[in-house]
């Protein structure tokens, strides 16, 4: 059980949602946007957070879209990982979604929650960092649409009260060559020791990682090394590893072991 009370709101519009948020903010109290809820419930249960209100955004139409037009695939922030996988519209994102938590949880976890939550791995971000995705954000000044990689620096940079509404994937990315490899310490279902996602554009590899650092990242330096056609592939991989710099060193894996895994992952990816 959650050992304290909070208020629950289920707005029908973005404006209603932000009004509730601002109302609590004005009172100096914390309200949280709530979608799949798995992380918020867990953190409330163990006493890490104590929001005064949760604002369930799952009934807001703009957050529920999932469709493709001529230019973009549009994904609402409350679409679940299961919905995105099942739609099979963006194969690389499908692969990312399919390896987050387990299948039952994928039916609840939303893409917005995966991006905005506190768990550092945020594996759906990998696909978005690679494909020139854009996002729509709603806040007190209305809508703003920005490139995902300009708004995501270790975490999604949102102003107070803003919420992620939807994600827009350029159609070229939906059919581009891609690869996804996730390495875990023991079980298949686990946080990543290393997840690498790659997308090819104009025969050039774009690559992003989760688990390598404390945040998901697309590394232009590593991409440049891997795309350096003046070198043989093994030399490119060695150069890429040199570019990786200081990687995570924790109880899951030492930094040298992570680099060892990175080397083999890159070999696998470049062979494929």
């Amino acid at each position: 059980m959650i050992p304290f009370d909070f208020a629950y709101y289920r707005p029908e519009s973005l404006q209603q949602a932000i009004n509730v948020y601002q109302e609590y903010e004005t009172r100096g109290q914390q309200a949280m946007y709530y979608a799949g809820g798995s992380e918020i419930i867990t953190m409330c249960r163990v006493g890490n957070i104590h929001p005064k209100a949760v604002i369930d955004i799952k009934n807001i139409p703009e957050c529920k879209v999932l469709y493709q037009d001529n230019d973009y695939l549009h994904i609402g922030s409350v679409c679940t990982l299961h919905q995105i996988s099942k739609s099979n519209l963006f194969p690389l994102l499908k692969l990312c979604c399919g390896r987050i938590a387990d299948h039952t949880n994928q039916c609840r976890i939303t893409i917005g929650g995966n991006i905005c939550g506190s768990i550092i791995y945020r594996e759906t971000c990998l696909a978005l960092l690679l494909c020139d995705a854009e996002i729509t954000i709603f806040g007190k000044d209305g809508f703003r649409r920005v490139r995902f990689d300009s708004a995501f620096h270790q975490t999604l940079q949102l102003q107070s009260g803003e919420l992620l509404v939807s994600i827009h994937i350029p159609t070229w990315a939906l059919t581009a060559r891609h690869a996804h490899l996730k390495k875990t310490t023991n079980e298949k279902i686990d946080y990543p020791l290393l997840t690498a996602a790659a997308l090819w554009k104009d025969s050039q590899i774009r690559i992003a990682f989760s688990g390598l650092y404390d945040y998901p990242v697309r590394s232009v330096e590593i991409e440049n090394a891997l795309n350096n056609s003046s070198l043989l592939v093994p030399q490119r991989i060695q150069e890429a590893i040199r570019c990786a710099g200081q990687v995570r060193n924790d109880v899951e894996a030492s930094a040298p072991y992570r680099l060892f895994v990175l080397q083999h992952t890159l070999e696998e990816m470049m062979e494929g």
Binding site: M1, I2, F4, D5, F6, A7, Y8, Y9, R10, P11, E12, Q16, V20, G37, S38, I41, T42, C44, R45, V54, D56, N59, H82, G98, A101, D102, H103, T104, N105, C107, R108, K188, I189
Partner: protein, 163 residues
């Protein structure tokens, strides 16, 4: 806009019956099912979404009831093992496969398998079965028997259609 600031009476659709229950907005669906509706098939295990012992079916998909607020279930169709009435094909398949030892995980596995059958009326690829079953833990390690039960489930169904 739905607005619940204190304890409130909500209508829940569980096992094709409508219940009116008084809940706090922060009450978990698992606790409400067990303690207020007396439906004890969803089991408290890890309470963290890892073990799957509390799995129920919501609108045809599996959900871990320890990670869902009771107020969120309003307007949705909830199914627990009690709603299978002892007559669901997956229940017979579990018996035929001896797919349990201590039984604590069984109701969660039953609901995952039942939802699998709802989503895939014919036998899906083995990797799909594996993916769905991986959501639940069985510490008695009856995994082979549970997988066998899924095969029996679809085999029984095929035979039924052939007749």
């Amino acid at each position: 806009m739905v607005k619940y600031e204190q304890k409130v009476v909500v209508r829940l659709q569980v096992n094709n019956e409508t219940y009116e229950v008084a809940v706090r907005p922060s009450d978990l669906l698992l606790d409400v099912l067990r303690e207020q509706l007396g439906l004890t098939s969803p089991k408290p295990g890890c309470l963290n979404g890892d073990c799957g012992a509390c799995t129920i079916v919501v609108d045809g998909l599996p959900a871990k009831s320890c990670l869902m607020l009771a107020v969120e279930a309003e307007g949705h169709s909830v199914l627990t093992v009690e709603g299978l009435n002892g007559s669901a094909p997956i229940q017979k398949a579990f018996i035929d496969a001896n797919a349990f030892q201590c039984g604590y995980c069984t109701s969660g596995f039953l609901m995952v398998c039942h939802a699998l059958q709802m989503q895939y009326p014919t036998m899906p690829e083995e990797c799909v079965v594996e993916e769905w079953l991986q959501s639940n833990l069985c510490r008695c390690t009856s995994y082979n028997e549970i997988r066998k039960a899924v095969h029996i489930l679809y085999h029984q169904q095929d035979n039924k259609y052939q007749k």
